[in-house]
Amino acid sequence: MGRYVARRLLLAIPVMIGASFLIFAMVYALPGDPIRALGGDRPLSPGVVAELRAQYNLNDPLVVQYGKYVGNLLQGDLGTDFRGRQVIDTISQRLPVTAQLTLVAILFEAVIGIIAGVLAGIRRNGFLDNLVLVSSTLIVSIPILVLAFVAQYVFGLQLGLFPISGLGEGWYSFLLPGLVLASGSLAYVARLTRTSVAENMRADYVRTARAKGLPNRTVVVRHTLRNSLIPVVTFIGADIGNLMGGAIVTESVFNLPGVGRAIFDSVRQQEGAVVVGIVTLMVFFFIFFNLVVDVLYAVLDPRIRYD
């Protein structure tokens, strides 16, 4: 297991460097002059422009800029944006918001998804099964963009049950965007659980348990569920990595100042240091949670051995 983890971590290094360089190169390729935009409609004096360009190494070629960036990164310096603000400050401000949103979304996805999946899987082709099947297709089909607006309009504006946007009401503010963000994965979890439960219900050991005359409840909870949930739990784990990357649309529509919004704003303002800093972090989370999940998989399911 230790060797496996070490190998995965080693493989992650080129991926992280590659991804951050890819995004760095694309931001570098963005046309226009970010310094020029600082002054708005009024021109900055040429001397000031030159000073700022030099400060942010904007006159260097791509590879040199990237080299300087990585050099600073290794010393723990993520650089500053064009307004002189530390990128690390921006990240530490935004990350908690995204983390809370992720947590709420994961909870929704786990609780609702698993319950729906189990109910559907116990009796295949029953009413509940069909209901879950159809509604999950429906939910998956609604683009998050649309879902966000519908939720905002119906529950926020018309019914007034939730805040329309922003973080004004603490955890409560995260419920609606969390549910919207979770919707796609929620439907998947429901289906995954359904299939997994249904397959296990036909497994030999369940038949044995039934034959021994154990009550249905015990069979489902003790025997089927435990085994069925292995793929579900690992999926949910991996999803944390995905969601930590920030949800650009959800955060935009609900005006949540998280990582996704930060990326969007920074791309627009060509804040290369911010974009690259956050994306590298995202990639890290992504790789990290995937690794955790794979290890978890082995721990949960004794049949799997990585070495």
Partner: protein, 553 residues
């Protein structure tokens, strides 16, 4: 999602903001208790702002959010009357005089002090202005001093790729001379009679010695000379609380004990809080709320004309738009009122002059071709032999909410002139501005200007004079007419206001004849406040005089 300039910058947090607001609710109650004892003074109120884009340094703040905070922290040489928008000597300067309108003698009032107890002297101004102008300091407001003698010596020499090839030759402008503690002289490169009116702007605020020791720390917790002082640093994405400065030397000290500036990422969120009474003042309202806000807030709803103009600039360098009659035809094809009503909820006033109505010199009937006149427009276009088969490009910068009204303009051009249009709104400012500099506009483009100071000249010189041709200035139409330039010079050196205005209007007449751009709208700004405060005045810069606000109840 619209990302206007106002809320485009770093998005705010709000967990912390929420905590702040809870705290704010608490202090409100305390404030009201004290208020009864101290009669009309005292109390605390809160005000919405967007995230300031830069550290809170006067020389580097050229947007409204940081400007609002700095206005509470500093008092300049002159202040602007909220009603007439004229400069009044209620600030640090006792007088600003000149015989030739070129060399000005500034005399300061005695008794002004910074929040750290040091005196505000002539040196405080001269040092601050030199610092801002000196290009290696990279201050955004450097160009405000471009008309001071010796400014060029403080600019690094650069090549075409914006690389410094030689550092500046001086650190102090030769045109600034300290005479004694309370007097200094300012020599301009050419006469400018309006100069005393310009020095109320943020860029001209004085700086204490403490600034030069630690500019970075100052940017977080500025030390000013204004009615409020900062007891704690500004927290990005959250805001700052300012308390009343007891030693304030001005005539109008703060009425309230403290003001809390709360940063919001989105106006919508702030508006919801305003409705719920969690924030007291908003100096601007989200577009979607404007229809219902007057009824909802009654006399707590404030609408003020802004000192700005939005125009449709024409590329006078483009063959197709070289003929003034073509440009006039396009202007006459646009129904400004209909666009204002449908797209802006009526919050734009159709323009009738190149000069904003908030400044002296504006004429209500200056621009005849600003009226919708489809017949005349078509005959002008025919006369000019304009090729209607080719679509025209309509340019504007992306991501700032200009799509709607620009498309409406395009629809009217197609409807009224039978010319197809193509929207060119995919460039961000970072790309759009350099393209404008490089004569890259292939059709009419959005040209907008917010005044720096309330004088008619500010709507003419910076936009249409030969001296303002890019990259030095904002004359993006590349209009150049010596006659126009001469009249501006005449107005700038006029010995009294009447002569100056007459010259500026004569210059505007030439502009109306040559018509490098079509004036479209002046903005009306909407604000509102809670029942917790009164005497909330929004000026033509969109700023609120925080010192004047009174906490009631």
């Amino acid at each position: 999602m619209k990302f206007s300039k106002r809320n485009s910058s770093l998005v705010a947090t709000a967990v912390a903001a929420a905590l702040l607001m809870t705290a704010c609710g608490g202090s409100d109650e305390e404030g009201s208790g004290e208020g009864e004892a101290a009669e009309q003074a005292g109390g605390t109120f809160s005000m919405y702002i967007g995230q300031p884009e830069n550290p809170l340094v006067p020389g580097n703040t050229n947007e409204t959010e940081g400007g609002q905070v700095l206005d509470s922290l500093f008092t300049g040489l002159v202040q602007y009357d909220a009603e007439t928008n004229e400069a009044v000597f209620s600030g640090v300067a006792a007088s600003i005089e000149s015989d030739d309108k070129q060399t000005w003698t500034v005399t300061l009032n005695e008794g002004w002090t910074f929040h750290d107890g040091t005196d505000v002297t002539a040196q405080s101004f001269v040092d601050a202005w030199n610092y801002t102008a000196y290009s290696p300091n990279a201050q955004g407001n450097s160009y405000f001093f471009a008309n001071v003698a010796g400014y060029g010596d403080l600019q690094a020499e650069t090549d075409d790729n914006d690389v410094v090839i030689a550092p500046p030759v001086a650190e102090q402008m030769s045109g600034l001379r300290v005479v004694d503690d309370l007097t200094f002289e300012v020599e301009l490169t050419s006469p400018y009679a309006q100069w005393p009116t310009t020095v109320g702007y943020t860029a001209f605020f004085p700086l204490p010695e403490a600034f030069f020791a630690d500019p970075e720390g100052f940017g977080e917790q500025p030390i000013g000379n204004g009615p409020f002082q900062a007891d704690e640093p500004f927290v990005p994405d959250e805001g700052i609380t300012l308390t009343k400065y007891e030693e304030y030397a001005g005539d109008e000290p703060a009425n309230a004990d403290s003001v809390k500036y709360v940063v919001y990422a989105e106006q919508e969120t702030a508006y919801t809080d305003l409705q719920g009474g969690q924030v007291d003042i908003m100096d601007t309202l989200p577009p979607d709320a404007i229809a219902s806000a007057p009824d909802e807030f009654g006399d707590r709803y404030i609408e003020t004309a802004q000192g700005d103009i939005t125009s449709l600039g024409f590329p006078t360098y483009d063959q197709r738009f070289a003929d003034p009659n073509v440009r006039k035809a396009f202007s006459m094809a646009i129904d400004r009122q209909a666009i204002s009503d449908a797209i802006f909820n009526g919050t734009r006033t159709p323009a009738t002059s190149f000069i904003s109505p908030v400044v002296k010199g504006h004429r209500d009937d200056a621009c005849e071709v600003c009226e919708l006149n489809v017949e005349e427009a078509n005959s002008l276009l025919d006369e000019a032999g304009f090729d209607r088969s080719q679509p025209v490009d309509l340019w504007f910068n992306a991501g700032a909410g200009h799509e709607g009204w620009m498309e409406a303009v395009g629809n009217q051009i197609r409807e009224n002139l039978d010319v197809e249009f193509q929207l060119r709104g995919d460039l961000q400012q970072s790309e759009f501005l350099p393209l404008k500099d490089a004569k890259g506009m292939t059709g009419p483009f959005r040209d907008a200007w917010v005044m720096d100071y309330p004088v008619a000249e500010n709507f003419l010189g910076p936009l249409y004079s030969s001296a303002a041709l890019p990259p030095a200035g904002s004359n993006y139409t590349f209009y150049s007419n010596p006659e126009f330039d001469a009249l501006l010079v005449e107005g700038n050196s006029a010995s009294n206001d009447e002569d100056a205005i007459a010259a500026y209007q004569a210059a505007e007449d030439i502009l109306l004849e040559d018509f490098p751009s079509a004036p479209l709208f002046y903005r009306l700004n909407q604000g509102a406040h809670s029942e917790n405060v009164e005497n909330v005045i929004i000026d033509a810069f969109g700023r609120i005089d925080a010192a004047a606000v009174r906490v009631v109840g």
